[in-house]
Amino acid sequence: MKLMTCPLNGTRPISEFAYGGELRQEPAVTVSDQSWAEYLFYRNGAPGIKQEWWCHTPSNTWFIAERDTARDAVLRTFLFESEVQE
C-alpha cells in the first residue's frame, strides 16, 4: 500500500497518514469490569476486512478506511460523520 485517499484531500502518499486502530464501539460506562477490559484490551486480531481510523496528518483529518488486513488493500475511505452505521 503506497497511496491512501483522504475523503477531503484526495489521494496522497501513505507517508502522510497515521493509523489509528480499528473502529470499535465504546460500551456504556456502567458495564461490568470484565466487559470494560474486553473493550480496552481485546482486539479482533485475525486478518480480514476491517474498518479503521486513519488520519491525514498535514490537514489533521480523521476518517475511516475499509482495509483488507491480509492483502493490505484499501477498499474505500469515508468520513466517520457521513456514514458510519452504529
Binding site: 493509523y19 477490559a37 482486539r43 486480531g45 488486513t69
Partner: protein, 413 residues
Amino acid sequence: MPLRLVKFALSPEHSEPPMFRPPDRLKSSYDAVIIGAGGHGLAAAYYLARDHGIRDVAVLERSYLGGGNTGRNTTIIRSNYLTPEGVKFYDESVRTWQDLSQDFDLNLFYANRGHFTLAHTDASVRTMRWRAEVNKHYGIDSELVSPDQVQQACPQLDLSCGGKAPIQAALYHAPGSIARHDAVAWGYGRGADQRGVEIHQQTEVTGITVKSGRVTAVQTTKGQIETPRVLCAVAGFTPRLLAMVGLRSPLVIHPLQAMVSEPMKPWLNPIVVSGSLHVYVSQTARGELVMGASLDPYELHSTRSTLEFVEGLAARMLELFPFLSQAKVVRQWGGMADMTPDFAPIMGKTPIQGFYLDAGWGTWGFKATPVCGKTMAYTVANDQNHKLITEFSLERFTNYALLGEKGAASVGH
C-alpha cells in the same frame, strides 16, 4: 569434531546425515500435538520428550521448519528488561543458551558480544538508570556507562549522531549475545526427532475440535488427529488459531522488517541499539551487518518488505556510523510480530482444557526460545502453569494485571 571435519573434507562424497527422519504418514492420534515448528514449538517438543517422557508427539508446520519468525529474526539475546517477572524469565533463558551448543552437539554460533542501549535524551537516561537498578537487584550484569565508554567499545560510532541527537549515556549489558537462528530450530528439531517426536512440515492445521470445553482433535491438510493436548506456538498466526477455538485475545499483528549489508571485515563487536533512532545492529560471524528497526505502523498479515523501511533505516544508520555510506544492503525481509499491549507474552493454560498457548512474543521472543520450551513442556506435561510463567497468563488482561514491559522491549528486542 576437527577430525570429523578433516575426514569430511577428504572424502569424495560430501553427504551429511539428514537432520530429521523423513516424515511418515500422520498417525490418527498422538499424546500431544504442537502447532508450529518454530523455535518455541520445537523447544517444547524437545523438553517434553527429554524431561517429561512424553514422546508420542507430532509437531505440525504449515510451511518449513524454522521458516517463521525464528528464521527471520535478528537474534539479539539479552535479559536487561524492566519488570521483575521479565528479568527473572529472560535470565533463566540466557543461562540455558550458554550451554545449548554442547547439549545439541551443534554449533549455534552463540557469540557473547555485550549490548549497548544508547540514550540520547534525559528521559531515556532516566529509563536506563531505572533498568540498571532493577537488573542489578536481580543479579543481572547491567550498568549505566558514559559516552566515553561507548566510544571505547565502538570507535566508529559518531557520538554526536550528526549533531542531531548526541549520545548522553548508555545501558551496558555484558551478557548480550547473538546466535545462529536456523541452527537453534535445527538443534531442537533434531533433538526432538531423535527422542521419537514426529515433525510434519507442509502440514497446516485448519481446525481444532473442542467438545464440552476440552480439546479433542485437530484437523490438518493431511487428515484428522485425535489428541487431548494441543500447544499452539504460531507467533504471527495466533489470532487465526484462536479463532478456531473461539478464544479472543489482545494480540494484533504488525510486520517487523530487517535487512543485512554485504559482508565486511569485523569492526563491530558489541550489539548497538538506539531506541530514539529506531536502530539496532550487530555484525555476524560472516561479517554482515544485521539491522532492524521498529514495527511497521499498522496491522498487516503479510511478510512483505518495503523500500521505505530500507531508506529510513539506512538514513538512521548513517547518523550513527557515517563511514558506512558506501556499504550496500543485500537482503531485506519481514516477519509477522504478534503484539500485546504490555509488551509481555501470553503463555500457559487457557479457558479451554488441553489448549495451551505460547504467543505474544512479538519482536523479542527469540531470546526466550529455550525457557519457553522448558516452561511450556512443564505446563503441558503437568496441566499446570510453570511458576515462571504464571504472570503471563491470558487472564491478566481481564484482571487488569498488565506487566508494563514496554520501556525495555519496544525497540530493543
